[in-house]
């Protein structure tokens, strides 16, 4: 079975007053995938999402939702999308029920299904007890949930969420992540976030966007591989005078860190931890800590976003 392509962006470019906010971004997304959008502030994440949802016209390039062109048939294309912008678009003078009913109606949910759709969206976002409350009086986290509820109320093919977990408490974040994963089973989801572990938890695909250009586009595994850096972090009470004595079988490099710990680089296909522990006991090194040392996603992210234009970076540093 061929995967169904739900979102297809082709060479999207957006120019704001001569500056390219988004430059030549192309990607496609299959049904049932969750795509994470990463990038520093002002990288063009929100702009890209606005273009995908038809809120902003691209200067160049095309967007196709399930094969329907956003520029040519905006109504049909928009009917397949649910969108939560950065600021949740809520009519605060209405109650949750009233607002969701309007959302369902405007998204062409047939009138006999509206009640059902509202009920289901509330259940999925944990809003059932808030039905009669004014949106204005809800906490930020609940408002965010209402925003998500309006995006999924019409059961769209593609759900686009711009920073969905901002302002939520840890339990709510966990719920929302579970919800996103659930949505990812039969919809396509695109979400942007600043929180890197979140991407790792919920996304199948990751895109890192920097200064309007895609600098990384691939499966989450690719990012994880970059992350697991074949390193061990150890702490010794009585380290040998010559750190090279730690170079056991398979360990390529020994590095002493500022915080008193030692980092061991080892070969990719070997795991020297066990041998090392034995050696530590035999030699009475006083081993008190041993951990696989993972490069944090942050580091991967930073290295990806800064590699892109080294000359410019250097020029800025030189100027400063």
């Amino acid at each position: 079975m061929n995967p169904i392509i739900t979102v297809e962006a082709n060479q999207l470019t957006r120019i704001y007053g001569g500056r390219k906010a988004v430059n030549n971004v192309s990607f496609s997304l299959n049904k049932g995938e969750v795509l994470g959008f990463l990038g520093p502030n002002g990288a063009g994440k929100s702009t890209t999402m606005k273009m995908l949802t038809g809120n902003l016209a691209p200067s160049e390039g095309t967007v196709k939702i399930c094969g329907i062109d956003m520029m040519e048939n905006p109504k049909e294309a928009k009917a397949l999308i649910g969108y939560l912008p950065e600021t949740p678009p809520l009519y605060k003078e209405l109650t949750v029920d009233e607002f969701l009913t309007i959302a369902a109606r405007l998204h062409r949910v047939s009138s006999k299904n509206i009640k059902n759709a509202v009920q289901k969206a509330k259940e999925r976002c944990g809003l059932t007890e808030m039905s009669k409350r004014l949106i204005e009086n809800l906490s930020k986290g609940y408002q965010q949930r209402v925003g998500i509820a309006q995006a999924i109320i019409h059961n769209p093919m593609v759900v686009i969420l711009d920073e969905p977990t901002v302002g939520l408490d840890p339990i709510q974040i966990r719920d929302i992540r579970a919800l996103i994963k659930e949505l990812g089973n039969d919809h396509s989801v695109i979400l942007s976030t600043h929180i890197l572990p979140e991407v790792e938890m919920v996304c199948d695909h990751v895109q890192i966007i920097h200064k309007g250009e895609l600098v990384f586009n691939g499966a989450i595994e690719m990012l994880k591989q970059q992350r697991q850096g074949n390193k061990l972090l150890i702490g010794l009470h009585q380290p040998p005078a010559d750190l090279n004595a730690l170079k056991l079988q398979g360990i390529t490099q020994v590095e002493s860190l500022e915080n008193g710990l030692i980092r061991l680089h080892h070969l990719a296909d070997e795991s020297p931890a066990e041998a090392f522990v034995r050696a530590a006991v035999e030699n009475n090194w006083g081993l008190h800590q041993i951990n696989p040392d993972q490069t944090s996603l942050e580091e991967v992210f930073v290295s990806l976003t800064y590699q892109e234009q080294p000359y410019q970076e250097q020029a800025i540093q030189a100027a400063a």
Partner: protein
């Protein structure tokens, strides 16, 4: 879809105090002038002996009521239109409408229809007041309907202009002030330049096209003027919102 947006607008007018306050205030003013009109009718008419000085009760009360109607609404409509688009822009709720399967025309016309529906409630009350004269007098329905249609078209034109101004700014208050000034100018255009004999400019005055209605005269030329006025400003609003999408 247009009706769905209109419903949404009506709902949000009535879920804030704004809608109720304006509705009750205007009805109070209308009611007061209606009462005054009926009250004074006998005093004035008993004083006018000659037949040509005499007026029908419909015309007498109607003049009072519809005269004040256009004046009161000059203040009320900007207050109602000011938030239509500017507030959505400020609260960033426009994205909700833009990402729904709606065309810009449906959004703008829907908002317009919603507001006109609200104004129609007022006009309905005015009609009820006038029709209640029928209990003890024979009234001139033709005169009332001409006036109602005129007032309705005038208010719809106010609303169209108000929506356009509201689409230009993020600040509802600024939208209200500008709408008021422009409407005031357009109403008074007739008076302001009466001396200079500039017929072309005076023809643009809203008042000039409203007056025939208040005399009970339904003129297709005037109806066409109001419809053109409304269409122009709604089109401008659509173009303004489209520019948002294109230029961001």
């Amino acid at each position: 879809m247009i009706l769905n947006i209109a419903r949404k607008e009506l709902k949000s007018v009535f879920s804030t105090p704004m809608g109720w306050v304006i509705l009750s205030l205007i009805l109070f003013v209308f009611g007061y002038y209606y009462y005054e009109g009926v009250d004074q009718y006998f005093q004035v008419m008993s004083g006018s002996m000659r037949p040509e000085e005499r007026k029908g009760v419909t015309e007498f009360v109607g003049q009072n009521l519809f005269g004040i109607g256009s004046f009161v609404m000059l203040f009320a409509v900007p207050l109602l239109t000011m938030r239509l688009i500017s507030e959505e822009r400020r609260n960033q709720t426009l994205a909700f409408l833009f990402s729904a399967p709606l065309s810009l025309t449906e959004i703008v016309v829907g908002k317009f229809v919603g507001l006109v529906a609200f104004l129609s409630i007022l006009i309905g009350f005015v009609f009820l007041m006038m029709a209640s004269l029928n209990i003890w007098a024979e009234i001139d329905y033709g005169y009332i309907f001409a006036n109602l249609i005129g007032l309705w078209l005038l208010l719809a034109s106010f609303a169209a202009l108000g929506i356009y101004v509201s689409s230009l700014t993020q600040q509802p208050v600024i939208a209200a002030i500008i709408t008021f000034i422009v409407l005031f100018g357009l109403l008074m255009l007739d008076n302001l330049i009466a001396a200079s004999q500039n017929e072309g400019l005076a023809y643009l005055s809203l008042m000039r096209h409203f007056q025939p209605f208040s005399r009970g005269l339904i003129n297709t030329g005037d109806i066409a003027y109001f419809i053109l006025f409304i269409t122009t400003f709604l089109t401008l609003t659509i173009r303004r919102l489209d520019a948002d999408r294109l230029r961001g």
